[in-house]
């Protein structure tokens, strides 16, 4: 399976990638802005996307909209520090498959990815 990790933080991209140890993902690519994520989604065609929200150029929620316009069945896990309930609800309303709050651990990422794949 293919995963696209979208986050403007190098630390976060690497942390998410390291947490994949026992998951089904065999190929991983990364993007640093929402704009880049939308472009990469079209060409790379990942099975799952992890999406930060606060990013330069295009925020993650707009990128979720753009990706779902291109493929309404896309599986997207939003991974964000924005802890207000309204943001998580908004992400799910827009079509994200799940919401994971930062700070993350390898276990929390692993479990969240397993959960959305099980759905």
């Amino acid at each position: 399976m293919k995963l696209l990790i979208v986050d403007d933080s190098l630390i976060m991209r690497r942390a998410i990638e390291r947490s994949l140890g026992r998951t089904h993902f065999t190929e991983v690519r990364t993007a640093t802005t929402g704009l880049q994520a939308v472009d990469m989604f079209e060409h790379y065609k990942p099975d799952v996307v992890t999406m930060d929200i606060t990013m330069p150029d295009m925020d993650g929620l707009t990128a979720v909209d753009q990706i779902l316009k291109r493929n309404p069945r896309a599986t997207i896990l939003v991974v964000s520090a924005l802890a207000d309930k309204a943001t998580a609800v908004e992400a799910i309303k827009r079509g994200a498959s799940g919401f994971l709050l930062k700070p993350i651990t390898a276990e929390s990422v692993h479990n969240a990815l397993e959960d959305i794949l099980a759905d």
Partner: protein, 154 residues
Amino acid sequence: MEEVILKIFAQSITRYFATVADGAAVLGTPYLSDENESVAFDFSAVIGITGSHRGNIYYTAPREKLHALLPLIGETTPDDRLCAELVGEITNTISGNAREQLGGGFMISTPFIIEGSPLNIHTSKDSTCYILPVTWNNHRSRVLVSLQQNPASP
């Protein structure tokens, strides 16, 4: 207002270290920044706040602390680039987590990284800057909170 805000950021930074680091962070008593005081360590990040509040949130830490923290998140060969990235991510996380209490109107920017120790951290002239000392495994760092409520915000 200041007491409530400081409590929120104290909870955010405590949550960060409890989740990510091997050992709890100990918070010192917050104090007012002195304009002539050098408050920055080797690496700092600042996030601009708009919406319901206006101002800045800083997190600043010395290289040694960041080198001790990086292996705990899986980075076994710490360097300056990762130190800069880490202060940015910590600032982003504690600011974003503050929305749990401050709500979605508390808008945060992406972090801006400052390397080296400038003489002063610039804060808004209209608001007071509070320094929240954070100690973890005998390593010191600081959260700087310079915020005021936005009168134009509903």
